[in-house]
């Protein structure tokens, strides 16, 4: 499954300690998320359209990740949730 972020600024992010607030411009809804969601969104922004495996590899290259072998499954689950919320889109274009 490929995911992508919408062009332009889809959301505004504001960090509040361990939590990050995401204001989604299209829906006007504010989401409160914690690690690793902001990092996954940043990674997807950096890779362009990508599947969970590519996002997980990008994260592994930038963070010291400890969840041996489980990273891709975690990323896949979060990507599916984010697409369900409308924060990211399914498909390459």
């Amino acid at each position: 499954m490929q995911y992508r972020v919408e062009p332009g600024i889809a959301w505004l992010a504001h960090e509040l300690g361990p939590m990050t607030l995401l204001y989604h411009r299209r829906s006007g809804i504010t989401h409160m998320v914690s690690e690793p969601v902001p990092q996954i969104l940043d990674a997807l922004n950096a890779t362009g359209p990508a599947d969970a495996g590519a996002v997980a590899r990008h994260l592994a290259a930038h963070f010291d990740l400890s969840a041996e072998g489980g990273i891709e499954a975690i990323v896949a689950a979060r990507l599916e949730e984010l697409a369900g919320l409308g924060l990211i889109r399914i498909g390459a274009a």
Partner: protein
């Protein structure tokens, strides 16, 4: 409307109309020290209507309408007409105001900086704000905190303070009888009297102040306690306390994240007015 009155409270101008003279006469008396707004265009219209035309004379009941109204609002007795007018004005602000981020909170100011007291009805925020207003603080408002969307400053909304039940005596003891309105007994919220803010606080109603501390008071606890509220929890609490956060969209998000990121917050439980005041003033001294 046969009788009408235009009032300005802070930045908001209300035109209140009614077929009965009595609620407007009471309102005019209590707001006599406010600036003359008779020539200003109204932001909101509040109408106190009879439930049915013939009910204007037989067991008169007031129904609150206006630019914005609630579908399931219950009618009120004419004897509580002053309360209906106040509720009608609050309702217009809560549902229609878009020029500031509106928080359901009382605000007071000292040395040019503002304290926000946010809580639901019964938390004691009105009483605390009224008592602080008699102790050298400037009462900015007991119901709505108006957060500037661009600069983050707090704008006053010093309407009449609504005092309920035991709070009436507590405030009368320090403010005296002269600034209290008539007793409205056995309303849906119990006994109510309104307090007219001090004249110097009304005169300062166009002077904003930057927020310095946010408190979430809770009255009626057995033991007093103070607990720091982290910015994320503060954000959630204040979105719940805001009547227009969603409607304001991105501007509301920017204003509220700016507020909770820059101003410390504490939740306080207190058992009596005196204890509440002592806690507020101690926390204020720490925050300065």
């Amino acid at each position: 409307m046969k009788h009408a009155l235009t009032l300005r409270v802070g930045p908001a101008v209300f035109r209140v109309g009614s077929p009965w003279a009595s609620p407007l006469d009471a309102l005019a008396r209590l707001y006599s020290g406010y600036p003359d707004a008779s020539d200003e265009p109204a932001d909101f219209t509040v109408r106190l209507r009879p439930l049915k035309p013939w009910r204007r004379h037989v067991r008169p009941s007031i129904f609150i309408t206006g630019d914005h109204s609630l579908a399931d609002a219950a009618p009120m007795a004419l004897a509580h007409g002053l309360l209906a007018a106040e509720m009608g004005m609050n309702l217009q602000m809560a549902l229609g105001w878009r020029r500031h981020l509106l928080l359901h909170a009382a605000t007071v100011e000292k040395d040019g900086r503002a304290l926000i007291l946010s809580g639901e009805s019964g938390s004691g925020k009105s009483t605390l704000a009224a008592l602080l207003g008699e102790r050298g603080w400037r009462l900015m408002g007991d119901e709505f905190a108006l957060v500037d969307l661009a600069g983050g400053g707090l704008w006053p909304f010093p309407r009449l303070v609504s005092l309920k039940n035991a709070a009436i005596e507590a405030v009368r003891g320090v403010a005296g009888e002269g600034r209290l309105g008539p007793l409205m007994a056995a309303t849906a919220k119990g006994d109510i009297r309104h307090l007219i803010p001090r004249p110097e606080h009304v005169a300062a109603m166009d002077r904003p102040a930057p927020p310095t501390l946010i408190l979430f008071p809770r009255f009626g606890a057995e033991d007093s306690a103070a607990r720091p509220v982290d910015p994320a929890e503060c954000f959630v609490r204040l979105t719940q306390a805001s009547t227009n956060y969603v409607a304001l969209g991105e501007a509301g998000f920017r204003a509220l994240t700016g507020l909770v990121s820059s101003v410390p917050a504490v939740a306080i439980d207190y058992a009596s007015g005196a204890e509440g005041i002592a806690m507020v003033e101690a926390l204020w001294d720490e925050a300065r």
